[in-house]
Symmetry: C2
Subunit: 187 residues, 2 copies
């Protein structure tokens, strides 16, 4: 007697764990699938105002278009001589860190069989503007330190959450050096 085979997808924390594990197996058998290139462009408007646009990326040996063009509008608040029409870039950096640590927690927890009920987090970073303003060349221009606080409901222990969020790609990119190559074209 034939039995009907049913495909059941395991969904945990809103993450398709079946697809995640299939992805891991696919990459193991064809490592080139894992080479991703993410892209953004930026157009300066005036003063502190500019707009970042994200359209496409490369991965799984193909270029992919986002469903819609995605934007981040940036500006500075009045105390930093802007008009406050958008996030400032160092706030966008904290936002990137927040999104990445959160998604990493959701994906890794799902794969480990840990259930999350709610995840909230707070970020604060210190910048001494004497660096950027050129007043003291010994003061760095970027963040001196960033502090992160996660509030998690679910069955993961504090130690598990700590180990997982440190696997975030943006956490890596900020806490360790990334080489940045710059080309300037005069038009």
């Amino acid at each position: 007697m034939k039995t009907t085979e049913q495909t059941t997808e395991e969904i945990r924390n809103g993450v398709n764990v079946t697809a995640l594990r299939e992805t891991i197996e696919a990459v193991k058998s064809d490592p080139e699938l894992a080479d991703f290139k993410f892209r953004a462009s930026n157009a300066w408007e005036d003063g502190s105002r500019n707009l970042a646009t994200v359209r496409d990326f490369h991965g799984t040996k193909a270029d992919h278009m986002h469903k819609d063009e995605l934007h981040v509008r940036m500006d500075e608040p009045p105390v930093l001589l802007g008009q406050d029409t958008g996030l400032n870039p160092v706030e966008v950096l904290l936002s990137a860190l927040s999104g990445c640590m959160t998604t990493t927690l959701a994906y890794y927890s799902a794969n480990l069989g840990l259930e999350l009920e709610s995840v909230k987090s707070e970020y604060e970073g210190d910048i001494d503007l004497k660096g950027f303003l050129g007043i003291d060349p010994n003061i760095r221009k970027g963040y001196k330190e960033i502090r992160v606080k996660f509030r998690v409901k679910g069955n993961a222990t504090e130690e598990q959450v700590m180990d997982i969020v440190r696997c975030s790609p943006v956490f890596d990119a900020i806490s360790n050096p990334v080489p940045i190559k710059i080309e300037i074209v005069k038009e």
Copy 2:
């Protein structure tokens, strides 16, 4: 005969250079004015979806509210098991870099008397997902390298633009290590 004294503000590249120089002088006489703390929070929604919110920051010895709450909506594209309703966090990181290098160019050029006509830039970063997916512990989880291309119209030389954009705080934060302290609270 009395002459009417007129206050003329020097505006260049949309930047109030008079106010910028006053800020530099104010900080020189009271360095504590330069201590800024930028903040963000994040709420996980489900799977790859989460929302970063920026409300306030500290600087010039006071807390400041943004005019409006500012948000970055994040998600992953389908090939990374999301629904593509927002930028993914590593794209937000490139956006932060783009905004910061651009604003740095506008502000520093204004202060140096250089006129910008147009500034566009492109960003591409490489991530080998074998790191994040836990397939190879020797592969880093974040960007291996980021490439930046600026297209600038104006009277700054290529060398001047190169020197200036490397003063960006986010450029510093990504190309050099930033200590990140994490606290986990189970609720």
